[in-house]
């Protein structure tokens, strides 16, 4: 009893234990969190005139000043693009073109065969009585020289009987049968065959099946008596000659002779989209030849394009196709890379007839007899495909045709003043419209309209220029890849309002132009040419010394950014960016940073503390650089701005350049060095 009480108490104690333990053990400690400040070096950069394309900068001054040359491509057109559509020839033929050889075999029916009695009289001289025999023993005739078997659509069997007997053969009724089934191939009567004479009968084999194993049967033989005693030669008799000719089998198992099944030798024309081309140098393209056959005999194909040469060697190919296995198709093909080939498009025989867009090609297909007996039926066929595709010219020579290209009202970006707005006075600059013709043909350009637009201020200025009011003609360049002829139309304040146009600081140029090739027709006499990159380019060219005065100029640039890594880490609570600038340019620069979302909507901006600016560098009285000045811009990014960064896809950097209004040159020694670091408030935990 005491023991039982003890056990009950023990179990109770275990339950009490679990009631206490489990809830307490389940308690979890939450992490401890605190904020740390991390100093992180970010990026550095340097901006000087050497960062601009050196081809645009010309040092024209005896000191280190610069002239800035800027060309903007307004319009470019490949006016004479060659169209070389894919061209193909596809031909096929069937058994109907095939033929079997004409052949002959000879079988002798001897005197002994006619009447065994003559065998006894062999060598004797005696008078031969008239004979009248019927159903002589059949003679086996082996016609395997013709074929194994053939069912013929048409053809003829000539049976010639030659009388070697010493008597006249008055009548022979001759029957020719297939040994296997006894079907009659031919039966005919031959009459009055003189001594040593021959009589021939032609049997039409149309719709007949002839096998190689035949039996010749003399159904009736009537001979006259000899005119006197004659020498009996039992080995002599009647020679039966069987000749087949003009056989056109419907199906046959036979040894087909060598034969040409296709023979083409002709000119082929290509559509060049209006151009009349004499010569065409291939930059890229392919010639594809494909031969498919079900015929069980070997074939060979000869293909040649005499008009296409590579280093003086004509394009030609031989393609061999073995006989197809029964029930299958044999395919052979070859793809020829045409790069480098020169096509003469003057036709098959330019000495006789000089034409355009036409080349000479030859295609011959032959059956090569192997001597094997192969089966051919009307279902068998041969298909030949050859095609020219993806042809791109390196150059083409001919007459490019007369084409007029109207741009209509179009627009293009003008990068020189990208992001610029404000008050900029330019002095001593020159501008021109520059035309460059790479196309080997005369050209005419007419600029109907040109207008510059500053997208920030909205200001538009139409270019009014006397030299642009009439057509501009341009000649063909020399025949050399990359060569061009340039025509420069100078614009100045005497002949245009170019100064006003440029001082608009346009970011967009709107234009309307006509560009015509061969305005006067085929004056070159088919000596126009075009390379693969030939085109007509129209530039707006501005040259200015880099010495200008700035009242206040605003530069804008939009940079795509990806702050998702920063933004997604919620433990970065805030930041402070330190931008240390060392500036030797004689201008003060203020910065604004605007944040935009993926749709270019403004969502906020990062303020510069106390509106600090990048201080101007020090220059001497002549404006030459003395020393750079350091500035520090502090950009706080508080917690609410950190949240904005997550949604920021673009940062618009607006730099306001403040000058003192005096005209200053820009020297190559000027530099703006930027060094950016950050202090980040970061939440650590344990």
């Amino acid at each position: 009893m005491k023991f039982e009480n003890s056990m009950v108490k023990s179990y109770r104690s275990v339950i009490i234990l679990l009631v206490f333990i489990l809830p307490i053990a389940a308690c979890k400690r939450k992490p401890a969190k605190w904020d740390t400040n991390l100093a992180v070096p970010l990026f550095k950069s340097e901006l000087s005139l050497s960062n601009i394309d050196n081809s645009r900068l010309v040092n024209n001054y005896s000191d280190t000043g610069y002239t800035f040359i800027y060309d903007e491509l307004i319009y470019s057109a490949k006016l004479a693009q060659m169209k070389t559509p894919d061209t193909s020839i596809n031909t096929s033929f069937t058994l109907a073109r095939l033929k079997l050889s004409d052949r002959s075999i000879t079988q002798k029916i001897t005197l002994g065969d006619i009447n065994p009695l003559f065998k006894l009289l062999d060598g004797q001289t005696t008078t031969v009585p008239a004979q009248d025999q019927s159903d002589l023993n059949p003679v086996d005739i082996d016609a395997s020289a013709f074929f194994e078997t053939a069912t013929l659509d048409s053809g003829f069997l000539d049976i010639s009987l030659t009388n070697e007997l010493p008597v006249v053969v008055k009548l022979v009724v001759f029957e020719l049968k297939n040994s296997s089934d006894g079907s009659i191939v031919a039966t005919d009567s031959f009459t009055n065959i003189p001594i040593n004479g021959t009589v021939t009968r032609s049997i039409d084999l149309a719709n007949k099946t002839v096998e190689k194993t035949l039996k010749g049967v003399v159904k009736r033989l009537i001979t006259e008596a000899s005119s006197g005693p004659v020498l009996i030669d039992a080995k002599k008799g009647v020679n039966v000659t069987l000749s087949v000719r003009n056989l056109r089998p419907r199906s046959a198992v036979a040894a087909f002779p060598d034969q040409t099944v296709l023979n083409q030798n002709e000119a082929l024309s290509m559509d060049m989209g209006g151009a009349q081309i004499k010569y065409f140098k291939v930059k890229a393209g392919y010639l594809h030849i494909k031969l498919e056959t079900t015929i069980q005999e070997n074939m060979s194909t000869y293909f040649a394009v005499p008009s296409a040469t590579l280093n003086g060697v004509m394009l030609e190919r031989n393609l061999t196709v073995p006989g197809a296995a029964p029930g299958t198709k044999e395919v052979r093909e070859e793809i020829i890379d045409m790069a480098g080939y020169m096509f003469d498009f003057r036709g098959k025989n330019p000495d006789v007839k000089d034409t355009v867009n036409t080349f000479h090609q030859i295609l011959i297909v032959k059956l090569d007899s192997s001597g094997r007996k192969v089966k051919v039926t009307l279902n068998d066929s041969i298909r030949i495909l050859y095609s020219v595709s993806e042809m791109v010219p390196e150059y083409a020579i001919g007459y490019l045709g007369n084409t007029l290209n109207k741009t209509g009202l179009s627009s293009t970006a003008f990068q020189l003043f990208k992001g610029l707005e404000g008050d900029l006075t330019l002095k001593d600059f020159t501008a021109s419209v520059l035309l460059r013709n790479y196309v080997g043909a005369e050209g005419r350009i007419k600029i109907n309209h040109m207008e510059g637009e500053n997208i920030f201020s909205g200001k538009k200025t139409i270019l009014n220029a006397t030299p642009l009011q009439s057509d501009i003609y341009i000649q063909s360049p020399p025949f050399l890849k990359g060569a061009y002829v340039e025509k420069k139309v100078l614009l100045d304040q005497n002949n245009s309002n170019i100064k006003e146009f440029v001082e608009t600081l346009p970011q967009l140029i709107h234009y309307d132009m006509d560009v015509e090739t061969n305005p006067n027709g085929n004056v070159s006499n088919w000596k126009d040419f075009v390379f693969d990159d030939s085109r007509v380019d129209v530039f707006l060219n501005v040259e200015m010394p880099i010495a200008f005065s700035i009242g206040g100029l605003v530069l804008r640039d939009t940079q795509a950014v990806n702050f998702s890594d920063l933004g997604q880490d919620r433990r970065i609570k805030s930041a402070t960016l330190y931008v240390d600038a060392e500036n030797s340019y004689p201008f003060e620069v203020g910065l604004e940073l605007m944040l935009m979302d993926a749709n270019h909507n403004s969502i906020g901006k990062l303020e510069i503390e106390n509106n600090q600016v990048v201080q101007s560098g020090k220059v001497d009285a002549q404006g030459k650089p003395l020393s750079s000045v350091k500035s520090r811009l502090v950009i706080p990014v508080p917690p609410d701005k950190m949240a904005l960064l997550q949604n920021t896809a673009f940062v618009v950097i607006k730099a306001t350049i403040k000058g003192d209004g005096t005209n200053r040159k820009i020297y190559n020694t000027y530099k703006l060095k930027i060094s950016t670091n950050g202090k980040f408030e970061y939440e650590a935990n344990f």
Partner: protein, 427 residues
């Protein structure tokens, strides 16, 4: 949440510092010490303490309990921190249930076939660290406040272990004949919930005053089991063993707790060895193509290339944080020396008078402790006990302990505090 409520919640776990195996009042302790066999109670003991030789208690509490640590606390803690520091904390729950108690006759006759037996469940979460001041500063303040200063970390050790034990214990399992020695043995199964060990040596960080670059060098060996929730990350076995004897002067206890090992099946090891300093510099970019993703990516690539450590995974056997303890009870005082196998822990000495302020069943005992994770601590225990009517044997024993009273009174200056509680019932 108000501090008083916090204290109340802390107080609901009544804590008792894990160094002592059973809560004992002076008289009760002595009575038990006289007994030949140790009576096994049923009850629970919970304790939470933190300690440091430099960090103040307010900061330590926040770190141990969790939650947001304010900048004010961090700055205040920095004033007290030393060049070489130790810190640590222990949270433990121990519960024991009597499943069989030997009768008094058997105890007297020493011929019982059955020995007192019990089952126990415990969970401990321990962390300990020995570290340089510079590491604490970099960790809790970052490198920005120390621009232009060379921050050196010569030798830092850190360890954190959370484990659960499920055991069964026997008293006098192997009785020593004709002697006054009695023993208690517990064996059990151990489940490790987390195990982390870090060593950082020969490390330095220098940040340019203009933040243009940061020079870094470090040597790291970090092992981390990860956390797999309730199913644990490793399993093993442990044993507790206690031997007790008496002499004319008093009673002696020799105790080994939690001696064992566990296998962590998937231990991650991160190692890096650097002889030379790496300079993390600004990225050179073209202003015309300023794009954050390009230099961010470059920045990350540079850090990865130059500073990323090597990571490997392996199965590993680890020692559990065992305890070694020696206790001595005399008629006038109790002396205890204890060592815990955890990084940063120094041997701890405790002295407590036997005579305490007693009234009714209540008593208040003071205790002086030196060492552990701390320098010194002044503790007080409020105890209550009841006895069986008839045989006058101990029936219930309860205790609430305040550890590090000076830190409770001056949390922003003193360091090392805790509370404990226990309740036991003797059937």
């Amino acid at each position: 949440m108000r501090p008083t409520f916090k204290l109340l919640i802390q107080g609901t776990f009544t804590f008792f510092y894990a160094a002592s195996s059973y809560a004992q009042t002076d008289s009760v302790r002595n009575k038990l010490a006289d007994s030949k066999a140790i009576r096994v109670p049923t009850g629970i003991r919970i304790s939470l303490l933190s300690g440091s030789n430099g960090l103040d208690q307010r900061f330590l509490n926040n770190l141990v309990i969790g939650g947001n640590i304010s900048n004010k606390k961090i700055l205040n803690a920095e004033k007290n921190i030393r060049n070489k520091n130790i810190s640590g904390g222990i949270f433990s729950i121990y519960a024991i249930a009597n499943i069989h108690q030997t009768s008094d006759t058997a105890i007297r006759n020493k011929h019982s076939r059955f020995h007192p037996a019990y089952i126990s469940i415990s969970q401990k979460n321990i962390f300990g660290a020995a570290y340089d001041k510079a590491l604490w500063q970099l960790l809790f303040r970052g490198n920005d406040p120390y621009l232009g200063q060379q921050m050196e970390i010569k030798n830092t050790k850190f360890q954190q272990v959370t484990y659960r034990n499920f055991g069964i214990g026997f008293s006098n399992l192997l009785p020593i004949k004709n002697s006054n020695w009695s023993t208690e043995t517990e064996i059990g199964f151990s489940q490790v919930l987390t195990w982390r060990d870090l060593r950082l040596t020969n490390t330095s960080v220098y940040t340019d005053p203009d933040r243009n670059y940061v020079d870094v060098k470090y040597n790291l060996d970090f092992q981390n089991s990860g956390n797999n929730g309730a199913s644990g990350v490793g399993y093993g076995f442990y044993t507790n063993w206690k031997a007790h004897t008496r002499s004319k002067s008093g009673s002696f206890y020799f105790i080994v707790n939690n001696l064992g090992a566990a296998n962590i099946s998937d231990m991650m090891r991160i190692q890096k060895s650097m002889d030379t300093v790496v300079r993390v510099d600004q990225t050179s970019i073209d202003l015309k193509t300023l794009n954050s993703s390009s230099w961010l990516e470059y920045f990350k690539d540079t850090l990865n290339q130059e500073l990323a450590p090597d990571t490997s995974y392996t199965s590993k056997w680890v020692m559990l944080p065992f305890e070694l303890e020696f206790k001595y009870f005399s008629r006038s005082f109790e002396f205890d020396i204890q060592y815990l196998y955890i990084k940063g822990y120094l041997p701890k000495i405790s002295v407590q008078p036997v005579k305490a302020f007693v009234r009714g069943g209540f008593s208040i005992s003071p205790e002086l402790q030196l060492g552990g994770f701390d320098t010194y601590n002044l503790n007080f225990y409020l105890k209550h006990s009841t006895k069986n009517k008839g045989n006058n044997k101990l029936r219930t024993l309860a205790s609430i302990g305040i550890y590090g009273t000076e830190a409770w009174l001056l949390p922003s200056k003193a360091h090392g505090a805790g509370i404990s509680a226990m309740f036991f019932y003797f059937f």
